[in-house]
Amino acid sequence: MLNLIRFVYMFKSVWAVLAALLIGSVFISIGGSNPLAAYGALFHGAFFEYFGLASTLVKMCPLILTALAFTVPLRCGQFNIGAEGQMYIGALFATTVALYLPKFPSVIHIVLCTVAGAMGGALWVLLPAILKAYYQLNELIITLLMNYVAIDLVSYFVSGPMLEPGAPYPYSREIPESLFLPYILPNTDAHMGVLIAVVLAILLYVVFKRTSLGFSFITVGRNPDAARFAGMPVQGLMVNSFLISGALAGLGGAFEVLGLKYRLFHLFSPGYGFDGIVVAFLGGANFLFIILAAMFLAGLKSGANIMQRAVGVETTAVEAIQGLVIIFVAASLAFRFDRSHWAHILSVRKMIQKKRTEDKQEKDS
């Protein structure tokens, strides 16, 4: 019995998600649709349909990368909530290299674009990183505010110098077809990016689990003073964690351009940078669970469109449900399995039952 209860506790996040979906169904009903049909359409569309699955994979790529971008500095005790802006700058750099560099062999040029994207992201986080590591200035506010600067900057470039002549909406010229990332599912948008993101997640898991670099990051995060006494370059490690983070986010931006949009758009990201924080949290800041969490959230997002088409529920309902899911999962984390507590309850119940049967026997006799 105790093991059964522990088993129930193990899946507390799942129960929390279900509870959130249950409350979400109230909202879908308010919106005038049948919740069961809506959820059916959502999950079937997101995971069990060829094109739906492809669009889930497409959304997974930036979600994994931004979640990793949040988790790496977090493990080092730092907060980078500027992944959104770093994505924009990464995309800007990648597009610039794709459009304005002389022609290279296709593979080399793709690599150059991705590297440029990663560098752009890292560059955008450099200022807050240095200010935090060397001057103890709150990195939260600076990274947050720099998002807006980055979005405006990209908006300037795509509506000014990089604007495609005659475009109805601010976007750049299309990148050459030789630079498109290869597809992983034929006839869909699903591109290589998501595989690279998964590989990076696994790589980071190994780095943080098995290498001294990962250990130094964690030590700095847990106790910077101890790390300093142990001779670790604390400030350098902090800056590095930020740079890795920015590079990951920038990569996410580069992949959006190279794999999906093929142009740089004004406002191309629907807030992936912030969703990444949510994914990191749902995945418990564990690099492997992040992949699963990203898949779930990407499924919700791509399923939302399918649900809207199938039963006519607004996609904004899914945004609200997404928020509920996180709040419920957060609340569920506070419930920890307490063996002695449950053992006590069980023994009391057993005693009561025993007493009842004894009473019954007495009465009968």
Partner: protein
């Protein structure tokens, strides 16, 4: 520049615009300051402004009076504050994550519900709002009087709140408790102050305060609700808190500065159509960043901001 400010009327006009743009910032920044003073980093200000705006719009829509709207807005803000408080204080969940979540939740909920409630008339809606009323004597002071004392009720409420918060935080016992809890919760706990209670009260009050910023947007500025209408104001407010050194008056002045920058940016945008507007649009954010860089080493935030407190829990356990 000389053309932009060619006469006194234009100066008054500019300052009034600046003040109007800074009012939502002031409400939000006062709220955030109170929370940070008590040890909770409130990044959910953005969502609270949006929630307040939504609540104000809905309540005004149904009650027909802007006063009802204020109650509706504050209710939404308090709900957001309650979520933040329960998760961050009782359950010790990471404050940044909860804040971001509340922001996302506010965007989703307000967009979804406003589409249902206003059924597509969101942008054409014309809600009753507060009109400017001049305060008789003060109004006759040249320039300053016209700028400061020909505003609406919410702006006057803002002046009063700045004063009240200053007195409460620095001159009352409760304010001392808030500061103690934010600096060193363990010591405050030992002294018999309920850390949880003080933090809850601060965050709930903060929710109500920040939502007033949203009420102002709806009831005084635009008289309608639109999705994403908070547009980063909550984040600029965060910068204003640090720039104002966690002091209500300082915070008020910092918000005024950012509001003036916003007014300046709007004015420059209109007078310089040849320069891409994005450079002006990013000006308030760049100003906020530069202001923060400028105060390096001169300010220290309350010691325990961002760190959950539970008896017997170490700092390390609180990271995620």
């Amino acid at each position: 520049m000389s053309e932009t400010f060619s006469n006194l009327n234009m100066v008054v006009d500019f300052l009034s615009t600046g003040l109007r743009l800074s009012v939502p910032l002031v409400f939000a920044a006062l709220a955030g300051m109170l929370c940070e003073r008590s040890g909770i980093f409130n990044i959910a200000l953005e969502g609270m402004i949006l929630g307040g705006a939504f609540g104000a719009a809905v309540a005004t829509f149904f009650s027909g009076t802007p006063v009802g709207g204020i109650f509706g807005g504050m209710l939404c803000g308090i709900i957001a504050g309650a979520i933040l408080a329960y998760l961050c204080i009782s359950l010790c969940v990471n404050q940044i994550v909860v804040g971001i979540t509340i922001n996302l939740l506010a965007v989703g909920f307000t967009a979804f519900l406003s589409r249902i409630i206003f059924e597509g008339q969101g942008s054409t809606l014309d809600l009753p709002g507060f009109k400017a009323m001049a305060i008789p004597l003060l109004y006759s002071i040249p320039i300053v009087g016209v700028v400061l004392f020909r505003q609406d009720v919410l702006t006057y409420l803002m002046y009063i709140l700045v004063g009240i918060l200053f007195i409460v935080i620095f001159k009352t016992k409760w304010g001392l408790s808030v500061r103690a809890v934010g600096e060193n919760p363990a010591a405050a706990d030992t002294a018999g102050i309920s850390v949880t209670g003080v933090r809850y009260l601060s965050v709930l009050t903060g929710g109500a305060l920040a939502s007033l910023g949203g009420c102002y947007l709806v009831l005084t500025q635009v008289n309608l609700f639109s999705e994403h209408m908070s547009a980063g104001k909550g984040f600029i407010a965060l910068a204003a808190i640090a720039l104002g050194r966690w002091n209500p008056i300082g915070v008020f002045l910092a918000c005024l500065l950012f509001g003036m920058f916003d007014a300046l940016q709007l004015r420059l945008q209109f007078s310089n159509p040849n320069v891409p507007y994005q450079f002006f649009a990013m000006l308030p954010y760049v100003a906020a960043i530069l202001a923060l860089v400028g105060i390096i080493g001169k300010v220290t935030p309350p010691g325990a901001t961002g760190i959950p407190y539970k008896r017997g829990m170490s700092r390390e356990q609180a990271i995620f």
